[in-house]
């Protein structure tokens, strides 16, 4: 095992896959000479040349669409958005071209493309640069969406996304690129899209979460253990398709659920998950499901306000106590 940062793990995934298949190329702003705005593509231009690592103009709509067009004729593009916030400009190509081409061509053109970049809040980047795109993207049939929380998962899921024959959106995180560091297997591995993982086993409450909220949830679980509340943390890893069976199995064991995610509450992943849980485990629930999420406002710039809006381990502790009826 090697200990890698989240960023290094992503870089390794890109290198291994680009070595394996020369149909893979990367396009995005600053991915080449600058080594990537967040250095995920560091060294790739030197290793693979400009046709495989292409610095794009600031024109998200058309370089995303360029990827879709190239995918139609057999290449396997990786489109990097400097952040997912900028992908709002490209969303016509993500939704109307990438996600629908397979169906609208009667199965003639599947689109093996990866759209990747960081999502969510970082540190005082304010309203336009702090958004979580997972619910927007998960809404769309034809897309798959992954949001890994660890270096190991980031590498394995990015490799799976690159090998997938459908469009996959990979939601990374500015905050995790450097701060998340864990053991990554030396040998080749791929983590299947659509597979959740129990990151911590427990018997009293199921906390379902993904991306950076996995770390807040694990921290909360440690605090709660001191009070003899045994929390199971299920990391979805993929938010479309959601691994419902793994969630249900856990809820049937603990009979209580808290869903934790970073973004806004309306129509988000948690809202969907509650539907899945009530359909399949209604009779197993001993308490209404609680949700922890970012507050329902554009992210404020002020440091103190951002801190209040952004969910943390203490919020998770409160929610778990609430569903356990413990004050």
């Amino acid at each position: 095992m090697a200990t890698l940062t989240y960023r290094e793990a992503l870089n390794e995934a890109l290198r291994e896959e680009m070595d394996r298949d020369d149909a893979i190329f990367i396009i995005g702003e600053e991915v080449g000479e600058y080594d990537g705005a967040y250095k995920v593509t560091k060294g790739l231009l030197d290793a693979y040349g400009e046709w495989r690592v292409r610095d794009a103009p600031i024109a998200e709509l058309s370089f995303a669409g360029l990827g879709v067009g190239a995918a139609m004729v057999g290449l396997r593009p990786i489109v990097e958005f400097m952040t997912w916030n900028f992908a709002l400009l490209a969303i016509d190509q993500v939704i109307n071209s990438a996600a629908k081409m397979y169906q609208q061509s009667g199965g003639q053109y599947n689109i093996p493309i990866v759209f990747r970049g960081p999502g969510g809040a970082a540190l005082q980047l304010a309203a336009q640069h702090s958004q979580c795109p997972e619910p927007w993207l998960s809404y769309v049939p034809g897309l798959k969406v992954v949001a890994p929380a660890t270096a190991r998962d980031a590498k394995g899921l990015l490799k799976a996304a690159i090998r997938d024959d459908d469009p996959v959106c990979v939601i990374e995180s500015e905050l995790m690129y450097n701060t998340v560091r864990d053991d990554v297997p030396e040998q080749e591995y791929v983590i299947p899209i659509g597979s959740a993982e129990v990151k911590r086993e427990g018997s009293d409450v199921t906390v379902v979460t993904y991306s950076k909220m996995v770390h807040a949830s694990l921290a909360a679980a440690e605090k709660l253990a001191a009070d003899d509340i045994d929390v199971e943390v299920v990391d979805l890893r993929t938010v479309r398709p959601i691994d419902v069976p793994t969630v249900i199995e856990s809820v049937k064991k603990t009979n209580r659920a808290v869903i934790v995610e970073e973004g806004w509450p309306a129509c988000n992943v948690g809202a969907q998950l509650i539907d899945d849980i009530q359909r399949e485990a209604f009779d197993w629930l001993d308490a209404p499901i609680a949700r922890v999420n970012g507050l329902d406002v554009p992210m404020p710039y002020a440091k103190n306000l951002e801190k209040i809006v952004f969910p943390n381990a203490d919020h998770v502790v409160e929610a778990v106590r609430h569903v356990c009826h413990v004050n």
């Binding site: 058309s62 067009g69 057999g74 199965g107």
Partner: protein, 227 residues
């Protein structure tokens, strides 16, 4: 797609051609409304900068739905929009002249293959019918006189006369071809009308290329259509 949504796809095809050192070219057709949308400029820029073998073929029929392009484009000539991009060859052609269109297109394909340079062609033409079933052919945003004037310069009839004048075609041969084409179109329409509608299970086909589609179907199993 939406207006202009396919220009980025065309540069993607052009990118793939260069990527593999191919000698193909990608022909991309669009209407006059496209010159005002962002993807047009973004795609022309990238095609020119990276020398992509793409031919941007503008069919300028003067109206975007019911709006005269001159009312919404700050350009005297739409071909000028291409001149902002170094390396992009921009050219106007009479879109009602079959042989002229063929010639500029051939030159553009040659340019794409040999020089790896993109071309932007503005073909000036017209649409005889309304934009949609609900849109009359004239009377609201254009006059009958204008329509009649363009009709008198019909590209198919014009080419017919050129061929007859050159002794390459007789009027009888033309009529035979015309009838054959009409019969082919009618047969296609009949075939479509006679074809069965898809089965309900086809709803989940081609949404994903793997088994995930079955998973989506699971949520809707209670519906009678799927029982």
């Amino acid at each position: 797609g939406i207006v202009g949504g396919h220009l980025p796809l065309a540069i993607g095809v052009g990118y793939a051609i260069r990527y593999r050192d191919g000698d193909q070219a990608c022909l991309c057709f669009f209407g006059d409304s496209v010159v005002n949308i962002g993807s047009f400029h973004e795609s022309l820029n990238m095609a020119a900068r990276w020398k992509l073998p793409v031919i941007f073929f503008l069919e300028n029929n003067a109206y975007g739905m019911g709006t005269d392009i001159r009312r919404v484009a700050a350009a005297k000539e739409l071909v000028d929009r291409g001149k902002a991009y170094d390396g992009l060859h921009s050219v106007v052609v009479d879109g009602m002249d079959v042989l002229a269109v063929r010639q500029v297109t051939e030159e553009a394909i040659e340019r794409a293959r040999e020089e790896k340079r993109p071309t932007y062609i503005e073909a000036r033409c017209y649409r005889y019918m309304g934009h949609s079933m609900a849109d009359p052919s004239h009377g609201t945003y254009r006059t009958r006189e204008e329509l009649e004037q363009w009709r008198s310069d019909d590209p198919i009839l014009g080419y017919r006369q050129q061929l007859i004048d050159a002794g390459r075609l007789t009027a009888e041969q033309y009529d035979d071809m015309d009838e054959e084409a009409i019969a082919q179109a009618e047969a296609a329409a009949e075939f479509a009308d006679a074809s069965p509608f898809p089965e309900p299970s086809a709803i989940y086909e081609n949404v994903y290329s793997d088994a995930y589609a079955h998973d989506i179907a699971r949520r809707d199993r209670w519906r009678k259509e799927f029982s």
